[in-house]
Amino acid sequence: METLMTSLGLNLVQGILLLIFAPLVAGIINKTKARLQKRRGASIFQEYFDICKWWKKATVLTPYTSVIFILAPVVYFMTSLYAATMVPGFLTGQFTVGDAFIFVYILALGRFFMTLSSMDAATSFGGMGGSREIYISVLVEPAIMLAILINSIRYHSTTLSSMVIDYDGAYFTVSAVLACIAFFLVMLAENSRLPVDNPDTHLELTMIHEGMTLEYSGKLLSLIHLGSYLKIIVFLTMFGALYVPINIPLAVKILLGAIIIGIVETLNNKMRLFKVRVYLGAAIVLLLLAIIAE
């Protein structure tokens, strides 16, 4: 019991560490994009200032909303934070209770409440975002399942900490490289990044995640943003620890991952909504090949 409590404590510490660094990673992505677009861009600490700014502002609620609207950002943030405690980040080898499928369903809990809240403000923008979010999640989910399947076949476990790449064995395999590429594609879709969603605009033609959060302000908005920054760093951690078959420190992988996201976002346009199924279909085919090659 005592070891369990220690391990849970360490997990919480990891979650808080990721929480602290999450806005920084988002800042690095934005800085990369700005530099590549020949702009000076905001400081990499800008996201911290934004969060503090929103936290200080008043929250405007529409009279149509129910308690779900206030609950949703809280749940979304909590699920992201919980996901941060369970990814195999800096605590690999510890006894963690993070199961990969539970990881997926914890994130689904956050998505459930966010999409519900999008329908709560009684506006067409919100519903549009929620509807598209569901569409993309339906396409992403099989890919994530397959990605979990690969590592669990290889390491005989669905516990995230046991699924970390084992550098003592042969790790740079065809299967691992394919899975790495596929998971990167999935990560972009899951975190509402280009080319699936555009995180920079509120334009109704492009918006998915931003459409859902259009009615939010103040503390609730800052929670949502913090939650999505956390989700990026959580996915980067998982990507680095489970799928990048290169033996370098995890922190470097996260940093490089953030920079690559910035580069990819600069080089690509947002694709049409119904092209996304081709994009994610490609990810699924890559994963399929990876499992066959395993």
Binding site: L8, A122, I284
Partner: protein
């Protein structure tokens, strides 16, 4: 086991309310529902007792002529499920049934008792005859209950469709029983286990049994009766049909698989698994397209039965691969998901009844903002929707997680590439199903309970009376309790399979699955504690600071939004409809009611229908073929008596010649 007999007597007493005089019909209704709740309580108690303290045998009674009753661990699991659902739904029906005052309410409460009793009888029957008789009572009584609102044309056609389909299923089951029984020279379940079926006849018996039970549990493509029959029935009846009657089919199939036919043939499990997976995805896809609340739930039942059968099929495959110990996880997954589905589908059908009670409609496109009018119902529905989306802290995830683990285990056992491809298919299907189910229930809950009222039927909505809330509330509490502490249920359910192998998965820490080098753990209790810790911190942070909350209307580009500008349920599922266009083939028609100018003043009528794939591609051609072939026969069978006598004579002559020649 004496309790079992007493409960049957109580049900019979409840059935007698049919003949009560009309002037005390309210009393008859109360008596009927109390009898049903009491009887179900006793059933649940005795089943629970047996599961917690397993005795050697649970033989109840043998030898009333050819009828015998018996129960073992496999039937106890289903008796428990029936009992629990029976108590909750009967409590709910105390208030809900009052809506049928003056509309043959005595018949409704009497048949209700008979319905639960027939389900219990199916589960405790000890031989094929008793089983078939009880099965038929169940089918007929549920037909009468579906047909209760016989004034509506749709109801009648749904009821008769159900009647025809269910009898095709019964015929298949009877063939299966006959094959097994004739090869073992007895129709008692104990003797039928020692049958000598082999080879082709065994395959036929399996196919017939699977056909019959798959039809009753609504697996695709045999599901077409289900989305019509369940919405037509009164809500508490649909809750019991969906929550319990579909599971009884799993009980029957399990009896065949475990006891009569065996699971040593590899492809039996494969067939069950693939049919289950396809039903799971297509079921939820159709559910996401519907706007009738009860049809959504009915299609979602197809989905969940699909998942249950997929897990069961996975267990059969693992067993056929000589891995009895690890097949337990799959069988437990099927059973746990069956129990949790009976709870959550019961809850949601009850809440759809509440919504109908409040608004008088089943169409979610006309609703909106119900959460403010009926907060408790909204809360319970939220729990049920979360459970059906298999989210953490609900019982839905327990079954789903075990199902996923069983497929992972199958993947690790799969040495040949064909099986590995099948596992990939399974994971793609389960992933699609999980995410679409989430979308489906977000859409249902978001359209009906959140946002603003889409029509004035919501204005008169009100909170439900106490017994309806009690029934729903108890189910919601059970769902969350199982979701947070799954070990009790999981241990109880894997006990059922102690005949195959003894495995212990449930621990106070959570469910730990460690089969054949594979390791996984799900500890919702710990997740719950962690969430609570984070939650306390969050709430403190949110409420300690003194930032004020303002109220203002929704941003709508400078105009005041109307409630018609909200996303509709049909619009919400549009991207999915487009993405899976090839399967759904939506039929759209657009008619201009008024079009004086190309750009304004137009009045449009937009109709959308999504025909059921199997209805159009399988049943309609089949029906057409039958009509054509009967009209071909019509030429030689025209009703003239002299012609018929002539046929007889010709037949006689042919027989005579045949006899002489041979």
């Amino acid at each position: 086991m004496d309790f079992m007999m007493i409960s049957l007597l109580i049900y019979l007493l409840g059935t007698l309310t049919i003949v009560f005089p009309k002037r005390i019909e309210l009393f008859a209704h109360y008596l009927g529902m109390i009898c049903a709740a009491l009887g179900s309580g006793l059933v649940a108690y005795s089943a629970l007792n047996y599961l917690l303290y397993p005795a050697d045998s649970w033989l109840i009674e043998t030898g009333w002529g050819s009828y015998s009753l018996q129960a073992d661990a496999w039937s106890s699991a289903f008796l428990l499920l029936t009992g629990v659902a029976g108590v909750m739904i009967s409590l709910y029906a105390i208030d809900y049934g009052k809506g049928y005052l003056g509309n043959r309410i005595r018949l409704l409460s009497g048949l209700w008792n008979l319905f639960i009793m027939s389900i219990v009888l199916v589960l405790i029957s000890g031989d094929a005859f008793t089983f078939i008789v009880a099965w038929e009572i169940m089918a007929l009584v549920s037909f009468l209950l579906v047909n209760h609102e016989a004034g509506k044309k749709k109801t009648v056609s749904a009821a008769y469709q159900y009647m025809v389909m269910t009898h095709i299923g019964t015929a298949a089951i009877m063939v299966a029983f006959y094959l097994v029984g004739s090869s073992s020279m007895s129709f008692s379940f104990g003797d039928m286990a020692n049958n000598s079926l082999t080879g082709f006849m065994k395959d036929v018996a399996f196919v017939c049994a699977f056909l019959g039970f798959a039809l009753k549990s609504g697996l695709m493509p045999l599901h077409i009766w289900l989305p019509n029959a369940h919405p037509a029935a009164p809500s508490h009846v649909s809750a019991l049909m969906s929550g319990v009657m579909l599971k009884v089919a799993l009980y029957g199939f399990g009896r065949f698989a475990f006891q009569f036919i065996g699971m040593d043939v590899f492809w039996y499990g494969l067939v069950v698994m693939v049919v289950g997976l396809i039903s799971a995805f297509l079921g939820v896809l159709y559910a996401t397209m519907e706007v009738d609340m009860k049809r959504i739930l009915a299609y979602s039942s197809v989905e969940n039965m699909g998942i249950i059968f997929a897990a069961f099929g996975c267990g059969m495959v693992l067993y056929a691969m000589q891995q009895p110990i690890i097949s337990i996880v799959a069988f437990t997954a099927a059973l746990v998901h069956a129990v949790s589905h009976s709870l959550m589908k019961g809850l949601l059908f009850m809440s759809s009844g509440a919504v109908m009670h409040a608004t008088g409609s089943k169409n979610i496109e006309l609703m909106g903002g119900l959460a403010k009018k009926m907060p408790y119902t909204a809360l319970f529905t939220l729990v049920g929707s979360m459970a059906l989306s298999s989210l953490p802290f609900t019982s839905g995830l327990v079954g789903e997680w075990l199902t996923l683990q069983s497929f992972i285990t199958l993947a690790q056992q799969a040495a040949n590439p064909e099986l590995r491809l099948l596992v990939i298919f399974a994971f793609i299907m389960l992933g699609l199903t999980g995410a679409t189910a989430l979308g489906c229930f977000v859409r249902l809950y978001g359209t009906a309970f959140l946002g603003r009222a889409r029509s004035n039927i919501v204005d008169k909505a009100h909170e439900m009376p106490v017994f309806m809330l009690l029934g729903m509330g108890l189910e919601a509490v059970l769902i969350v309790a199982i979701g947070v502490m799954p070990d009790i249920l999981v241990n109880m359910m894997q006990q059922v399979f102690s005949g195959i192998a003894a495995v212990s998965m449930g621990t106070p820490l959570g469910i730990i699955w460690g089969g054949s080098g594979h390791y996984a753990i799900y500890s919702p209790g710990i997740i719950f504690i962690m969430f609570a810790l984070i939650g306390v911190f969050m709430v403190a942070a949110l409420y300690r600071s003194s930032t004020f909350v303002k109220q203002d209307v929704t941003w709508n580009c400078g105009t005041v939004p109307t409630s018609r500008q909200q996303y509709s349920a049909t619009g919400f599922s549009k991207p999915l409809r487009r993405a899976f266009e090839g399967i759904l083939s939506p039929q759209r028609t657009r008619t201009y009611l008024r079009k004086e100018h190309a750009y304004f003043g137009r009045k449009l009528r937009y109709d959308l229908s999504i025909p059921d794939l199997f209805n159009d591609k399988l049943y309609k051609p089949m029906q057409q073929w039958m009509i054509n072939s009967s009209s071909a026969f019509h030429k030689i069978q025209e009703g003239s008596v002299s012609l018929y006598i002539g046929y007889t004579m010709v037949a006689m002559i042919v027989v005579l010649i045949w006899g002489v020649l041979l």
